[in-house]
Amino acid sequence: MQERYAYYPGCLASLSQKELDSSTRAIAKKLQIELVDMPSVTCCGAGDIHEAKPDYYLHISARILGQAEQMGCDTILTICNVCTLNLRQANKALQEDAAVLNRVNDNLREVGAATYQGGVDIRHLLWEVSAGEGYDRFKSIAVKSLEGLKVAPFYGCQILRPAKILGFEDSDRPQSLERLITACGAEPIDYPAKVKCCGFPIVLAREDVALGELVQPLQQATDAGADVIVTPCPLCHLSLDAWQRKAAAFSGHDYQIPILHLAQLLGAAAGIEESELKFKRHVTRLSPEIKAKLKVPSVVGTGTGA
């Protein structure tokens, strides 16, 4: 774990999933790590720009990485699987081929943007707090035991695969979320679909195909008796949370399972208040019983989010 990170929340945490951003800032403060904002960055492309315009994707990624260097940061902290994979994929391409990096830098220079020297690493919050010093630090701030809360971990694809680019843990048998759930005093629930796809990348273009995928974790976590699902990815969160009713209609089953962002679960165990964790910004609301198990201070509001 570093003391200082270039903080890249990505689009969703900055826009529709603002509760993830506020929870992350709150937990970072407790962990005593500095998050330096990156006001000039674009979207990572979410895989879409990589697919449509790979050369442009490489350039906008280099511009993001170059900005971290300009700020004097050698590590970018991400809170989204898709940002993590896209930035790491581009970073690998830029670091492995000097000719590619030189050409990209020539172009960045020509448009007046920061160039990239190749010295930045991209780390997801999950990796930073589930092992080593970061884990110890989290253990020391996890003052509230979430005993009795059954949490189904949902990893999402792009923090596990392809392992040659991500490679933090065994992509078939990951344990980082389980480790953190246990550190929170809660009980991790096991189910096969925890490493599978939520369907989000194609939920607009191919809704039925996506819902067929989404049903698996929702059904299996429900069957396994989970109170909530926790995920390190805001896209998985949106899919599991906002599309939950559509998945229920699609499968003919009823799902009522709240979805937590990783930073919200960690925040609850660290005693962070509802005003920062913002559970009310979820489509699938927390029941009073689960709220009690999460032990979040202050009254949970009933109004709209924001």
Binding site: A52, P54, D55, Y56, R161, D172, L204, T304
Partner: protein
Amino acid sequence: MTEIKNAHFTTLKGAYDTETMEATLRVRRYDPETKKSRFDDFTVTIPVTASVLDALDAIKDTHDGSLSYRKSCRMAVCGSCGMRVDGGAALACKTPMKKFVDAGHRITVSPMGNLPVIKDLVVDMAPFWQKIRAVKPYLDTKDVEVPEKEWRVAQEASDQIHKESLCILCGCCVSECNSMESDPEFLGPAALAKAYRFVGDARDQDTRERLRDLNGAHGIWDCTRCYFCNQRCPKHVDPRDAIAKLGAESFKEGFTRDEGAKHAKVFVDSTYKGGYLRETELVPKTIGPINAIKDIPFALQLARAGKVPNPLSPHKAKDNDEVKRLWKLLEKEAKGQPRRATAKHPDAVQGD
């Protein structure tokens, strides 16, 4: 010394003269006559160098001759012995047993997913071949005169499709494809990697027709980017990367009408216009304004949770003019190049 009963062990005879180990495997069985499946546990003595395939041979030889599985080359070239080891598709011949034995772990061997099981570990590959055939897995040179002898291709052009050319058609990628579980008609990673192998071939003259076909229902935009295919492929073909390349070739050739392509275009345009994604434009521009209106009840659920950003004041990153200039520069550069990155220019293809 283990007694060698029949031909299955022939290749291992020498290995048995050296160190052996005891291994237990749990094997998924399926009897097509009773249509019932079960798990059987077998313990066998095998050389320390044995693969999962060797262990299955030992089972077949010493325990149960009715155990069914495919095999041929034993060296990760023929693609016959794809099966699931602990739930993940792999070539049995390329998976050593020793690491499992050392860890005291009993592996579970089961048939590949997304294909019908015929018996035990043997799956019906007919749907797999049907999709490979559907992408026209051969060169179409149209009216270009084919050289009488060899048709040489420049190294650089050959490199474009090198990875995809390594496919041995084992089906491991298809076994784990999350989109195929949901849409069995999806062409899938193996067929799409094969499709790119020809779209990217400097000699092929059927690029536009190929891309047009791949942009329809069950085509490239069905891919959910779960990356299981890249993870499982025993030959490092990286089928998902091939699908992304087909997307890029589609954009170059102007095939941007599929909802998947429209979705991608909103991301490209958002970075150009402001920096971050314009979420409120994503739905109407992907599925069209009429379908978006039908989805209003859903949008209201999201709005109630504060999940719909104000479309009138979209996010604007600082210094985004740099990005605009970058886009224009790259578009200009691309126009000066041959239309296809696959370098279908005269130097790439040389008649002898």
